[in-house]
């Protein structure tokens, strides 16, 4: 049976087709913020990334399909000595605003568990705020900070053993649960052909790639452009909202960025902007790549970064079948009057012709024909953070 795991601000929900109707049911964590839920295809175990508020971020697991959950025995923790560059506000009477900013280093503590991914070799990857990538090579019995990435020159160098380079090119995201504007790793995609090749995306820095299982990392931002930087083609400073790749042809990579939609057909070596603002394809958060045809992808566009709503009150999904050369607006079955939903970066997924997405308004929609027509699963879920088939 096909299942969709829905992570919301108030719990985990399981969506399945019963009696011909897609139905959502609470599957745990009632009242708790759940950022992401996914099934490890290797072990079958369900992993939920929780944000408890008062009690911090926790990893929760289920081995019985979501009937019972428990905190994973090993939690994600930054090691002693992990520091990062940040900025602090201070009173500055010489400033017109009365405040100034100064660079500081902070001790790293876990603020948010944001995404989880599973490699074909059994490696579990977890992306966090403040910008730490963790991995487990023992099925989740322990998690280790990836130090080559944490100490990457773009981040400011090695702060475990000194003061690094003194500056960072990684900036923040407001998605932090602690209120701090710290970098966040929201995308981890593992190459199905070679689990040692992993792409990650950071808000705000850009995309990095490892080809040796995380021992070395290099930027993958060539061809990207920005409109929020004096140098639009700078190597760093990009704000990828999400990246996804085609499972059977992983050289085809998609990126919904703050500044448009980008596509690469050569493994993120070179990106090409494929936004078509005339059909509403430009700003948004999620993108989902087809698993078989790398030229096919779905988006849920939004209206510009200064509004972040559905465009003109009509909700639609956009699909390309030709690598972004052309896009179709898919509206049948979706609300076209007074619909102002916004869809977060992890809240769109596809599998075998099924497409599902959920909004922060608690609306969940599913299509069984690649987005041509849509059915409403629920109008009454809590704000939706993530949807994943599994």
């Amino acid at each position: 049976m096909t299942t969709v795991w829905v992570a919301t601000r108030k719990g985990t929900f399981r969506v399945e087709k019963q009696g011909g109707k897609w139905t959502a049911k609470l599957a745990g964590h009632a009242g708790t913020g759940v950022n992401y839920v996914a099934r490890d295809p290797g072990s079958g175990r369900l992993w939920a990334l929780l944000g408890h508020g008062h009690w911090g971020a926790k990893l929760s697991v289920s081995d019985d399909g979501g009937t019972t959950w428990r905190d994973n025995a090993a939690q994600v923790k930054f090691p002693d000595g992990a520091r990062y560059f940040g900025q602090d506000m201070f009173e500055d009477s010489s400033s017109d605003f009365g405040v100034g900013w100064r660079n500081v280093t902070r001790k790293a503590t876990l603020q948010k568990l944001w995404t989880i991914a599973f490699g074909g070799d059994g490696t579990i990857w977890i992306g966090t705020i403040p910008g730490g990538l963790f991995s487990s090579r023992d099925g989740g019995a322990s998690f280790e900070l990836n130090r080559p990435l944490w100490n990457h020159e773009s981040r400011g160098g090695d702060l475990f053993n000194g003061e690094g380079t003194g500056e960072t090119k990684w900036f923040g995201t407001p998605a932090s649960e602690g209120g701090e504007f710290a970098p966040g790793i929201h995308s981890v995609v593992v190459d199905p052909r070679d689990p040692r090749r992993v792409l990650i995306a950071i808000s705000t820095a850009g995309v990095l790639e490892t080809r040796d299982g995380g021992e070395t990392w290099r930027s993958r931002n060539r061809g990207m452009t920005m409109d929020h930087n004096p140098d639009p083609e700078a190597e760093w400073g990009h704000d990828p909202h999400i990246i996804d790749l085609c499972g059977s042809n992983p050289d085809h990579v998609w990126q919904q960025n703050h500044t448009g939609v980008f596509y690469s057909s050569n493994g993120a070596e070179l990106w090409r902007k494929v936004s078509v603002p005339e059909v509403g394809v430009h700003f948004g958060f999620p993108v989902s790549a087809d698993d078989k045809d790398g030229r096919v992808a779905w988006l849920v566009p939004g209206r510009a970064d200064n509004q972040r709503t559905a465009i003109d009150g009509g909700l639609f999904v956009a699909r390309t079948d030709d690598g972004g050369a052309t896009w179709r607006q898919l509206r049948k079955g979706l609300p076209q009057e007074c619909a102002w939903d916004i869809v977060y970066r992890h809240a769109l997924d596809n599998r075998d012709g099924l497409v599902v997405f959920g909004s922060t308004t608690g609306n969940l929609y599913l299509s069984e024909d690649r987005g041509e027509t849509w059915t409403t699963v629920s109008h009454n879920l809590p704000p939706i953070y993530s949807v994943r088939f599994g």
């Binding site: 408890h52 008062h54 009690w55 911090g56 025995a73 923790k77 503590t109």
Partner: protein, 92 residues
């Protein structure tokens, strides 16, 4: 022994602690949290972050006085003290 009172919110995650008199042998708040960790593995990471600092929206009282050292939990406690671990009310 130190008498420990926990907010009922924590019983949702550590039901084994609910409905029992919690007493630990410790001379500092940090020591009391370490003893609680033995009774309920994982609870220390709910109360403190990975650097051992009290989480921002968690309050600990000795008797009716809020602890002073939130960074290392070094406040001294003595036999007979009541230690309360509560969630801060942050509005809403």
């Amino acid at each position: 022994m130190i008498h420990v009172h926990l907010t009922r919110h924590l019983f949702a995650f550590f039901p084994q602690l609910e409905g029992r008199a919690l007493e630990v042998d410790a001379t500092s708040v940090a020591g009391a949290v370490a003893e609680l960790e033995k009774l309920a593995p994982g609870i220390g990471f709910y109360i403190c972050d990975e650097r051992g600092r009290l989480r921002p929206h968690v309050n600990v009282f000795i008797g009716n006085a809020m602890v002073k050292d939130r960074r290392t939990l070094s406040d001294a406690i003595a036999p007979g003290d009541k230690l309360s671990i509560l969630q801060a009310l942050s509005g809403g």
